[in-house]
């Protein structure tokens, strides 16, 4: 069997249902095989779109997303998407064509050292130099991508390897002597953690993306309810704890809720689960949660004690460990007074905004979207203000309903990710919350939607600015709006020209109607919401400040 065929047969064995990609000179044998192979292929209009779509598919389904591109520019166009998946620990396999092995290193046409370029942004990568290694390499790539702390894996396949012939042998098991992720936590550490929890008076659970990855959301709920501890999640953890639960404080950090931030700062115990104390979460490090002991549960040992000192580290799978922990907690902490204190903060510093006549407030759109969908939808976002409002004003009830670029903060992610999510979950309504800036970064994927009848709803919060940068300029650069006012095409006409539907909404009173209409249309819809131009995201912790030193805006 030729290498190109082995690749596809292997992908099938690995459970791949859909590939996102773009053809080119150095993947012609693969595309020739794809022509009549029984696997869905989605032709995006840019390789970056393919990478983000594979990422979005993965986030929505928990499966490994797959993207495919040619050598050189095809591969370098994947780079942002791979880096994005790496930062958020998303399992992905990226396959790139490479020039023939005899040409590698010769500056051949469309050659780039792709394994070199992607080395620091992949969990692992491979250059296949012998067709006999191909099937095993693919099996290893899927295993590495999806196990331990997941991440993207790239396989670079030279043209002659795609054409070379060998027997196809699919390895049923992968065994890597140098890679053995730890799943079960150390029993002694779990016991210690249980004792610490019993003696806490002001415990808080701080949960991150690890809850989603491990599928430990039910265990998390059971733990929080058992010990009656409030729960805050990171950006990546949204959906890992029910957004309407009375113990839920929303997201913490730079644009987190004031009550979540106050609670973390006043806590005497932080139970961190699958989170990494990112700088957007901790703010000023030396002043972060000064009274708190820290239990840190994470599958990645390098995440522990990286930013904050940890009293009880437990390396392993969050779902397993929380389950164990629950059974080990004998005496329950008394948190009645603590929860009362938190309710005080919640009342005193709620998330809020002010209406301004018939102007559309972005928060209002999200509130209405929540009312209409009741959380039964997948919300993807671009990056910036619209993204932060989507964190704050929509409630995520279950894992994998929130899909957004966290660590890398990639503008242009949301739209292709929405395509991936919709393909992974065709029964769900999928929205992309976008700004007028971000949507223009991968707007070409409208053609992908229309051509494949992928029905996603893009809600553009059009304020005529690169809003988040403008907000920083307003607050910290004396309102010198340097290159943040941005012009856009007529999004309604643009959508129409692609064969999608465009709607424009300029008044608050039209918002609900427009949302309902968009949801009824069986096509991709761009809704151009003309929102209040200089609305800000509040609260906000200025960079480098302690997280209880928030600017709360105009509430």
């Amino acid at each position: 069997m030729v290498g190109a065929r082995i690749l596809l047969e292997s992908l099938k064995r690995a459970g791949v249902e859909v590939i996102f990609g773009y053809p080119g000179g150095q993947v012609l044998p693969i595309f020739d095989q794809l022509y009549d192979f029984d696997i869905k292929f989605i032709l995006t209009r840019h390789e970056q779109g393919a990478a983000h779509a594979a990422d979005g598919y993965s986030r929505a389904t928990g499966k490994v997303g797959v993207c495919l591109a040619t050598s050189g520019p095809g591969a370098t166009n994947l780079v942002t998407g791979i880096a994005n998946a790496y930062m958020d620990s998303i399992p992905m396999v990226a396959i790139t064509g490479q020039v023939g092995t005899h040409l590698i290193g010769n500056d051949a046409f469309q050659e780039a050292d792709v394994t070199g370029i992607t080395r620091p942004i992949t969990k692992h990568n491979f250059l296949v130099k012998d067709v006999k290694d191909l099937a095993r390499t693919i099996a290893e790539a899927f295993y590495i991508a999806s196990s331990g702390r997941p991440g993207p894996v790239l396989i670079d396949i030279p043209l002659d390897i795609q054409r070379a012939d060998t027997e196809f042998i699919w390895p049923e098991k992968v065994n890597l002597r140098s890679y053995k992720p730890t799943y079960s936590g150390h029993p002694g550490q779990i016991k210690k953690a249980a004792r610490l929890i019993s003696s806490a008076r002001r415990p808080i659970i701080y949960a991150g993306g690890g809850i989603i990855t491990s599928g430990g959301h039910l265990e998390l709920k059971a733990l929080a309810e058992k010990i009656q501890a409030p729960v805050t999640t990171t950006f990546m953890g949204l959906g890992g704890f029910c957004g309407t639960h009375k113990l839920f404080l929303g997201m913490l950090g730079m644009h987190g809720t004031a009550y979540a931030n106050h609670a973390v700062m006043e806590a005497d115990l932080i139970i961190a689960v699958g989170a990494r104390f990112d700088d957007r979460v901790t703010g000023r490090l030396d002043n972060f949660a000064p009274d708190a002991k820290v239990i840190h549960i994470d599958i990645d040992p390098s995440s522990i004690s990286k930013n904050v000192r940890v009293d009880i580290p437990i390396v392993g799978d969050a779902k397993n460990i929380i389950g164990e922990l629950i059974s080990q907690i004998k005496k329950l902490p008394d948190t009645v007074a603590w929860l009362k204190m938190i309710e005080g903060w919640r009342k005193k510093h709620p998330l809020t905004y002010k209406h301004n006549g018939s102007m559309i407030k972005p928060q209002y759109i999200l509130e209405q979207l929540w009312k209409l969908t009741k959380g039964d939808a997948i919300i993807c976002t671009e990056v910036g203000q619209s993204q932060m409002w989507a964190c704050q004003w929509y409630k995520y009830l279950t894992p994998r309903t929130w899909i957004s670029s966290g660590g890398l903060g990639t503008m242009g992610f949301g739209f292709p990710a929405a395509i991936g999510a919709k393909l992974g979950c065709p029964g769900k309504e999928v929205f992309n919350i976008a700004g007028d800036g971000s949507i223009q970064m991968n707007i070409q994927e409208l053609a992908t939607c229309v051509a494949n009848k992928i029905n996603v709803k893009v809600l553009i919060f059009n304020n005529g600015f690169l809003g988040m940068v403008r907000q920083w300029q307003e607050l910290f650069y004396k309102k010198r709006y340097s290159y943040t006012p941005i012009t856009s095409p007529d999004f309604v006409k643009l959508a129409q020209s692609y064969g999608a539907v465009g709607l424009r909404v300029s008044k608050k009173s039209e918002v609900i109607k427009a949302l309902k209409k968009a949801m009824q249309i069986k096509n991709t819809v761009f809704v151009d919401f003309r929102i209040e131009p200089e609305e800000n995201v509040w609260p906000m912790v200025p960079a480098g400040q302690a997280i209880n030193k928030m600017i709360e805006g105009l509430a």
């Binding site: 080395r119 692992h124 140098s178 040992p301």
Partner: protein, 157 residues
């Protein structure tokens, strides 16, 4: 502070680049690096010496090294008893009258003259960091024309 780290790694292309990348990405210079096959030809042994001001960053590098798929084990010798050695080769100025002085020196240090050509001798020596340092100082009076070093090798005891 100088740290000596040893690694057992898969003997494959690209592994060295992955490891070096973890240091360079943080702006850390590798002071010395020795790599060779072990008794098992599929495994290589690396000894890396690195200057690190920030212990926390070094701890992070160690953890990241452990995370690399091709890395089998990581040992930081900084807090471990170990034996280390380095081999050096030098070209020094030489005259017949120097022979006795050099022989004396090589009674104290492990080394020898390998070859003499005209007014130059090629000398080899083995020792730990301080021995090599002292020897280099002693040899400087002959005029060191060229020096190559293997970098440090280390093994636990």
């Amino acid at each position: 502070m100088r740290h000596t780290i040893s690694l057992l790694v898969e003997n494959k292309f690209g592994v060295l680049a992955r490891i070096a990348g973890l240091f360079s990405a943080r702006g850390y210079n590798i002071a010395s690096l020795a790599v060779s096959e072990t008794l098992d030809p599929t495994i290589s042994y690396m000894t890396i010496v690195v200057e690190a001001q920030d212990e926390k960053i070094l701890e992070q590098i160690n953890k990241q090294l452990n995370k690399l798929i091709d890395v089998i084990t990581v040992t930081d010798f900084t807090k471990k008893e170990h034996v280390d050695r380095e081999l050096i080769l030098l070209k020094i100025g030489y005259a017949v009258k120097d022979k006795q002085k050099l022989d004396e020196l090589f009674k104290k240090y492990v080394g020898k003259i390998i070859q003499v050509k005209n007014d130059t001798a090629i000398v080899e020596a083995v020792g730990d960091q301080s021995q090599i340092g002292q020897l280099l100082e002693a040899l400087s009076e002959f005029g060191i024309k060229e020096l190559v070093r293997t970098g440090r090798l280390a093994i636990t005891n």
